[in-house]
């Protein structure tokens, strides 16, 4: 392997951290979705890089499943965000606070 595997780990950790940061600071629900995508894709980087490293296909095949699943998750998410917009006239996640703990 030309690129040492630990570089992939650092890349994926960085992408994951960006995703977590986005979730913590973004208030727009769509940006939140994109941040979740970043976290999932960070996992895909690991899976594919180490499938190559180990020379087995498990990681690659799982990554394909994860990509399809992320698409399904976004579909549900956009549906819920659409309802949010209809009911609250905004997609700011901090505005939907009719319930209190």
């Amino acid at each position: 392997m030309s690129v040492p595997p630990e570089y992939y780990l650092i890349l994926s950790a960085a992408v994951f951290a960006i995703g977590v940061f986005g979730i913590l600071v973004r208030r727009n629900a769509l940006m939140f979705l994109m941040s979740v995508e970043l976290m999932v894709n960070a996992a895909n980087i690991n899976l594919i890089a180490f499938a190559f490293f180990y020379g087995n296909l498990t990681g690659q095949v799982f990554a394909l499943f994860v990509i399809a699943l992320a698409a399904a998750e976004v579909a549900i998410g956009i549906g819920i965000i659409l309802l949010l917009n209809r009911n609250f006239d905004s997609i700011d996640v901090t505005e939907a606070v009719t319930m209190r703990w």
Binding site: L9, I23, V36, M39, G59, F62, V66, I80, L83, V93
Partner: protein
């Protein structure tokens, strides 16, 4: 008598039946006429499918499918399919029984609850798909299957919580459930990818082998972070404090039968994968130096019990109070993994499984009574329940039974299952867990009693008037109450199956 042997793949019948029912519902919706009777068809098909699943699972359990035969060692007999990616064993069947029972109660109750709901077919289909996912979680034996089935259980649940599309509470609950659920699945999948980085495989047996042999890439650090992230991901699923923030919102906003479904069946699915992964895949003897997860679970269990029960104390909304009580019960069940320090491991694990079984009935029952109250249009706070017994004595009696059993009074199976958990924490030698369990049960008795007192002692407000007694909801509540009471004498039977199942993954 000739003995006939089924093909091996038929061991997977319970989730297959659930999946076929979900698809069949879509066909029924397309073909059935759009009239007022459509609801009975949809509820009927889902009910029959779930009942069939329950019967098949019960038959498998009694017939000994996937369990050790006479004279075989306790860990033998599990049926492994698809190169060991799926396993049907006693624990899987035990949990599918819980999931199918809860789904059946919820479906029967939903028939009345959904009377004027415009998207009934979607509702039932999503519920059946979620049940399929939960059943698949119970049989998964690799991280691939586990992750995909957790998502198959979660994605329909998000939509179900938000299914009252014009109700702001429902949409808000759905949004919060979705956002936190998506975050948790992101953390879970990253944890799984780190396990793959460390061990090079995703099948449970192969991962364990690599860990036990010490054949780990990148040292113990990557493995440890992976285990911790998987722990966090599962923590979200079972709504353990500090990963519980979605639960009160989602349970309060969701249609009440769905709250019962999520807090019982979805929690059971979260626990079966937690038990399997932590007891079987990451044996404490091998990973104890990297991540001592028993200590992590001890902290989680005590914090979950305490925070949830004290938060429930100051709730005025009954549904939200029950939501916190269900978080507290997750804390009680966590004793089953937190006490795995020594002693008879199968006994400890089996007690947690038996508590989940009893909890499935009593907690769903309590949420169904709330569904009934919502159906009548009575308010949601404890004051609104004042004098309910004057108008609906059966519902009030059933609610009192469920609440006292949840608290652990000897009216139903909840007393014995809590007693077994207490015994398990002493067996494991963790006295702190036993103390937390007793103190929190005493605290919980106070807030449960507030509701019972409101129903039986307080004077009804003048506007309280109930003039309909829906058959479906009453049937479901009566069934849940009957099983809860029968579990008091019949608890030995449940705990025996639970411990046999637990012995398969945690030899005594």
């Amino acid at each position: 008598m000739t003995e006939f042997v089924l093909q091996e793949w038929t061991a997977l019948a319970p989730p297959i039946v659930l999946a076929i029912t979900a698809l069949f519902l879509l066909a029924v919706d397309a073909l059935a006429p759009e009239d007022e009777n459509a609801g009975i068809w949809l509820a009927g098909v889902s009910g029959v499918g779930t009942l069939l699943t329950l019967i098949i699972t019960g038959w498998f359990l009694v017939a000994g499918t996937g369990q050790p035969r006479e004279g075989e060692p306790a860990s033998a007999g599990a049926i492994e399919l698809f190169d060991g990616n799926i396993v049907v064993d006693g624990m899987a069947l035990f949990f599918i029984t819980i999931i199918a029972s809860v789904t059946l109660l919820v479906i029967v109750a939903s028939y009345d609850y959904l009377k004027d709901h415009p998207y009934q077919a979607e509702y039932y289909t999503l519920a059946m798909l979620a049940a399929t996912g939960m059943a698949m979680v119970a049989v998964s034996n690799s991280f691939v299957v586990a992750f995909l089935s957790i998502e198959l259980a979660s994605l329909p649940s998000y939509a179900l919580v938000a299914s009252l599309k014009n109700n702001r509470g429902s949409v808000e609950g759905g949004l919060k459930y979705f956002l936190i659920g998506a975050l948790s699945s992101g953390i879970l999948i990253y944890g799984i990818s780190l396990i793959y980085v460390a061990t090079g495989s995703l099948q449970f047996g192969a991962v364990t082998e690599a860990i036990v042999d010490g054949d780990i890439t990148g040292g113990n650090g990557i493995l440890g972070i992976g285990i911790l992230m998987i722990l966090a991901g599962f923590g979200f699923k079972i709504a353990a404090v500090p990963f519980h923030f979605w639960a009160p919102e989602a349970y309060e906003g969701a249609p009440a039968p769905i709250s019962g479904f999520l807090s019982s069946a979805s929690k059971a699915a979260g626990f079966v994968i937690t038990f399997r992964v932590f007891v079987d895949v990451f044996p404490i003897g091998a990973v104890g130096d990297t991540v001592d997860w028993v200590v992590a679970f001890q902290v989680l269990a005590i914090v979950t019990m305490t925070v949830a029960n004290f938060a429930a104390l100051k709730q005025t909304n009954v549904k939200r109070m029950l939501a916190y009580s269900s978080i507290g019960h997750a804390g009680y069940v966590l004793i089953a993994v937190a006490a795995l320090t020594g002693g008879n491991q199968a006994f400890i694990l089996g007690s947690g499984m038996a508590h989940l079984f009893v909890y499935g009935f009593m907690n769903t029952g309590a949420f169904l009574v709330i569904a009934l109250v919502e159906y009548w249009g009575v308010g949601r706070t404890i004051e609104d329940y004042n004098g309910l017994a004057t108008q609906a004595p059966f519902a009030a009696a059933a609610m009192s039974l469920f609440l006292f059993t949840l608290a652990g009074l000897p009216l139903g199976g909840g007393f014995l299952s809590k007693f077994y958990l207490l015994w398990a924490s002493i067996e494991g030698g963790v006295a702190l867990l036993a103390i937390a369990l007793i103190v929190n049960s005493a605290v919980s008795l106070y807030y449960y009693t507030r509701v019972v007192k409101a129903m039986w002692v307080e004077e009804p407000s003048e506007s309280l008037e109930i003039n309909s007694y829906p058959v479906g909801l009453y049937t479901a509540i009566a069934l849940a109450a009957l099983v809860t009471v029968l579990l008091l004498p019949g608890f030995g039977f449940v705990v025996e199956y639970a411990q046999t199942a637990a012995e398969m993954i945690a030899p005594p």
